[in-house]
């Protein structure tokens, strides 16, 4: 394997682990939250909401990891692409916040 291929394999390995464990962690939080709400007879589910938040952040973390990997490999073109994707996702968050306070869109 060439050095570049080794780097790629290493990056993919990290992404695989993070995504795998991250999914189970977030799912675990959701499960715990649901159990808590059930046993406490609560309608409010802040823990479940946190678990859902973790799930939503997982792909974002994945893009950040890719950005880091590209920078480490001095692959600035792809790093810029990853940064662009992150920016667009953040704009999505902003759009959500604005349509909540502004109302109507």
């Amino acid at each position: 394997m060439s050095a570049a291929a080794k780097e790629l394999a290493r990056t993919e390995g990290v992404l695989a682990s993070v995504l795998q464990y991250g999914t189970w962690c977030a799912s675990g939080v959701i499960a715990v939250g649901l159990a808590l709400a059930f046993f406490n007879r609560q309608a409010d589910m802040p823990v479940v909401a946190a678990g859902i938040g973790l799930l939503i952040l997982l792909p974002v973390v994945r893009v950040i990891l890719m950005l880091g990997a590209f920078l480490r490999q001095k692959d600035y073109r792809f790093a810029a692409v990853a940064a662009l994707v992150l920016t667009i996702i953040c704009l999505g968050f902003v759009a959500g916040i604005m349509s909540r306070s502004g109302g109507g869109g």
Binding site: E12, L58, I88, G92
Partner: protein, 285 residues
Amino acid sequence: MNAGFELWLFAVSFGAAALGGMLGMASGIFIVPILTMFGSIDIHTAIGASIVSVIACSCGSAASFLKGRLTNIRLAIVLETATTAGALTGVLLVGAIPVSYLYFLFALILVLSARQMLARRREPLSPKTDADAPRRPWQLDSTYPDRALGGDIPYQVRRLPIGMILMYGAGLISALLGIGSGVLKIPAMDSALRLPIKVSSATSNFMIGVTAAASAGAYFVRGDIVAPIAGPVALGSVVGAAVGARILMAVSGERIRLLFVAVLMILAVQMLLAAFGIDIMRGLR
């Protein structure tokens, strides 16, 4: 929110994901129709729950594709600029689109999914390469391992601009309907980009999570994601997908395929009726 309903949500999501897992197909397409038609849940809440489960399934299954060295992560990140841009557009539009249009669009996507499930896809015996094609500046060409052909098969990424446009559309629909849009991404990568089908599937699956996160973030912040509903649905989907992938099909694969198609068509008809039903009700007032 009673426990019985939560259990129902979990069971339904589990069932759909397990069915999809056995076939290697995503189950996100089922969630909104089932939640709206059978659970009487508001479509925007259903979309919120669905988009979360889509992220969960995408992230949960990404590892096996990555380890199989089928995912082209560089191509994915490039295409993701288009899908997330489409998702952002969808987020901005979703308030303005009448619900009946969403139902109609859903019916179309369900029929499209049924068609794809029925069409038999065969991998060409020789990979599509063009030795005389100019070297692209983006280094997206790669290889993938194919046991049948014995070794790493090189492939090229062709016609990226068309692919980007299609990905934009896929991202838009993903945000509007709360689905993964793999049903749109895979054919786009297959025909427009001329990728081997295994690479298309793996890379599409990889991209779905990021595309969904672009809209899910907005919906979460907006309050469209309701924890008592999205929680059981996401959990059921993750567990169901994991179980489904592990079950060796005791029933013939063909039967499950047909079951899948039947459910898709039934839901498509219901969504279509809902699309017109709402219009009719408005007309009667």
